[in-house]
Structures are given as structure tokens and as C-alpha cells.
């Protein structure tokens, strides 16, 4: 798993590549909670290049979403891969997150 974080105005953009599973979910969670603790209210999470996510990753995703919401912010997604989309749907989370076709659209939505 590779994570690249950048700032676009007042939005933190987190781009993840590879697999998110129980071995690295903790690192994934920290990448999401870091900007939220560091003053960013809004996050864009780009999962286009994530080809695998287990429930351990999903747990971190929801924890970050809750944290953002608590601070009157939001966590929005760039269109996830088919594999990740499927698990979001099975978990019933596909309607919870706002999903945008590109990073630009997601950042622009704030």
C-alpha cells in the first residue's frame, strides 16, 4: 500500500494505491485521521487504485468519516475501483459516502 497526501486549498486529498488489509489498516487509518487532527475538516479519499480492501480498512474509513462529521466536515470519495465498490455495497455503505468521478470534482464539491 502507498499513500500520498496533498493539500488543495482547505481540503486534504489522500490518494491510496494497492491493498488495504489487516496488516496495514492501522497505517491507512492514521493517514486519514492525521489531517483531521491537523486542522482539516474536509477530506477527499481517492481509492481509484485500491484493488483490495478488507473489513479492517472499512473500519478505518468509517471511523474517519465519523470523525470528520463530528467536526462539521466530510469525507468524500473519488470513484472507487469495482472491487472496493462491491464491498461498500455489501456493507451498505455505498449510500453513506458521497462519491465523485474525479479528484477535481470531489475537491470542488466542498
Amino acid at each position: 500500500m502507498e499513500i500520498v497526501t496533498s493539500e488543495q486549498g482547505s481540503v486534504a486529498v489522500i490518494e491510496v494505491k494497492g491493498r488495504v488489509d489487516s496488516l496495514n489498516a492501522h497505517q491507512f487509518g492514521e493517514a486519514l485521521s492525521g489531517p483531521l487532527s491537523g486542522g482539516f475538516r474536509n477530506l477527499v479519499l481517492d481509492l481509484v487504485q485500491v484493488d483490495y480492501m478488507s473489513s479492517a480498512g472499512l473500519r478505518e474509513l468509517v471511523a474517519a468519516y465519523k470523525k470528520a462529521n463530528k467536526n462539521a466536515g466530510d469525507l468524500r470519495l473519488v470513484q472507487p475501483s469495482e472491487r472496493v465498490q462491491e464491498i461498500l455495497e455489501i456493507a451498505g455503505l455505498d449510500t453513506v459516502f458521497r462519491v465523485y468521478p474525479s479528484q477535481v470534482d470531489a475537491v470542488g464539491s466542498f
Binding site: 489487516s22 478488507s54 473489513s55 456493507a91 455503505l93
Partner: protein, 264 residues
């Protein structure tokens, strides 16, 4: 396979099951389902079934045993552990509203297993948790792609040191090009050999024989052979036969280069 029940091995177990499922003729989507189900089941075993194992303590690392087979039109995955009794089939499905109320969200793992597989059975027997996951075999099996023909690239790093990069299956049929390349390098005065195995997806006993012979040849010529960059299955095979104690292994190519004091 039987392997220590630690989180680092979950990926190895998944690879093992996916390889068997591929042989059974499942397509990529179904293989993903098998991986996810096994990942979730084994993560539960290593995270909840056992007290944290202290490496270096006198206790044996707890083991998990995973077997794959086919019966009555199903592909079956059996996961057996000796941890605390735990019946995943008795767990309630996650409730989204509840999840968002809870302090720490979760509970999808077992739900995923049930959704991804067609059959989930749990038995507690002789102090073991036995979980059997079944997936209906495809009506039309996907042909298994033939293994990539083995090839080998040799890159000269210095007059004395070379980087050798084999590719594909290293078994009796395909280990010859590597054997020839290693013999050639040592025969022509190369004293330091780095064998980068990142593109080797399978290592058989014939492949291991080639490695051992090359190590001996290098040693006789006052040279040295080190190995680096392993796919999980390959590393597991090396460890099972104790080769991790015989060879000098490096996780990265950079570390192997440093062994010969080469910077790129």
C-alpha cells in the same frame, strides 16, 4: 498448509487458497471473494483466537491449518485453529445505524464471509475451531493460464558483481536457464551474485537445488550468493525447507547491493 497464526501470515494463507481456487476454475471476481473471505476468517483467528504471542518466548507460536478441496460441486476451504471457542456463524449481521452509534465501528468481517461464500459451517471439535467455507464451483471453469516461461536477466553491476533476475516458475522444467546463467557468471569470474526473486512466483525443490548448487559453486570460487525480494509464497517455501538459515536474504535490492558495497 499449517502456519503460525500471526497477522503477517494472513496474506500467505490467502495466496495459498487463491492458487487452489484458480486451479478449481474460478474467475477473477470469485477469486477476490475467496481471498476476502479467507482474509476475514484468518484475521479473526489471529486477532481474537489467541493471546498475543511474544516472539522469542518459550511458547510455540499458535498454528492455523488451512486445507482446500472439492466435494459435491463445491470448492471447500477448511480453517482450523486451537484458539478460544468462537462460532462466527452465530454472530448477528451488522446494523448500520448501530455501527454509527458505536464508538468503534466494525463487524463486517463475518458478514463478508457469509456474503462471499455459498456455505459457511462451524464445528468445535477436540479443542479446535473448524470453519468450513464453501463456494459453488463454476459451471464453466476458467482455464488456468499456463505458467510464464522462465527467463533470466543478468545485469553487470561491477566486474565482480552481477544482479541476476529470474522470472516465472522455478521448477524442474524451468530452472535450467537460471542454472546456466549462474554457472556462466561464476565460471567467468563473477564473485558476488545478487539473485533478485521478485518475479519468481513459484519455487520447487528443483529450483531450490539450483540455488544450493550455485551457492556452493560461488563458495568454492571464494565468492558469495545472496538472495533478495521475495513473493510471499516463495519466502514461505524457503522458510519451510530451512533455506532462510542457509542463504543470506534481504527484503530489498538496495540492502543486497549494500552487502557488496554497491550504490546505484
Amino acid at each position: 498448509m499449517q502456519i503460525a497464526a500471526v497477522v503477517e501470515n494472513v496474506g500467505v494463507i490467502c495466496d495459498f487458497v487463491v492458487a487452489a481456487a484458480r486451479e478449481a476454475g474460478f474467475d477473477e471476481r470469485a477469486l477476490h471473494h475467496c481471498r476476502l473471505a479467507v482474509d476475514e476468517a484468518c484475521t479473526n483467528v489471529v486477532e481474537h483466537g489467541y493471546a498475543p504471542f511474544q516472539p522469542g518466548s518459550d511458547d510455540c507460536a499458535p498454528q492455523v491449518t488451512v486445507t482446500c478441496g472439492q466435494q459435491h460441486g463445491y470448492f471447500l476451504i477448511q480453517i482450523e485453529d486451537t484458539g478460544a471457542p468462537f462460532d462466527p456463524t452465530s454472530q448477528p449481521d451488522p446494523d448500520l445505524n448501530e455501527l454509527f452509534d458505536q464508538h468503534k465501528p466494525g463487524g463486517w468481517g463475518i458478514y463478508f464471509i457469509k456474503k462471499m461464500m455459498d456455505q459457511v459451517e462451524y464445528i468445535r471439535r477436540d479443542g479446535c475451531n473448524i470453519l468450513v467455507l464453501g463456494k459453488r464451483l463454476p459451471a464453466v471453469p476458467v482455464p488456468v493460464p499456463p505458467p510464464e516461461p522462465a527467463s533470466v536477466a543478468v545485469i553487470e553491476l561491477s566486474p565482480k558483481v552481477a544482479l541476476v533476475q529470474p522470472k516465472g516458475h522455478l521448477d524442474a522444467l524451468h530452472a535450467k536457464p537460471l542454472d546456466a546463467a549462474l554457472q556462466h557468471e561464476i565460471g567467468h569470474g563473477r564473485r558476488g551474485l545478487i539473485l533478485d526473486l521478485r518475479e519468481v512466483d513459484y519455487l520447487s525443490s528443483a529450483g531450490i537445488k539450483v540455488l544450493v548448487a550455485a551457492r556452493q559453486r560461488a563458495h568454492d570460487a571464494k565468492g558469495e550468493l545472496v538472495l533478495c525480494c521475495f513473493q510471499p509464497r516463495v519466502l514461505e517455501i524457503l522458510q519451510v525447507v530451512g533455506m532462510d538459515l542457509v542463504f543470506t536474504l534481504y527484503a530489498t535490492q538496495e540492502a543486497a547491493l549494500q552487502h557488496f558495497r554497491i550504490t546505484r
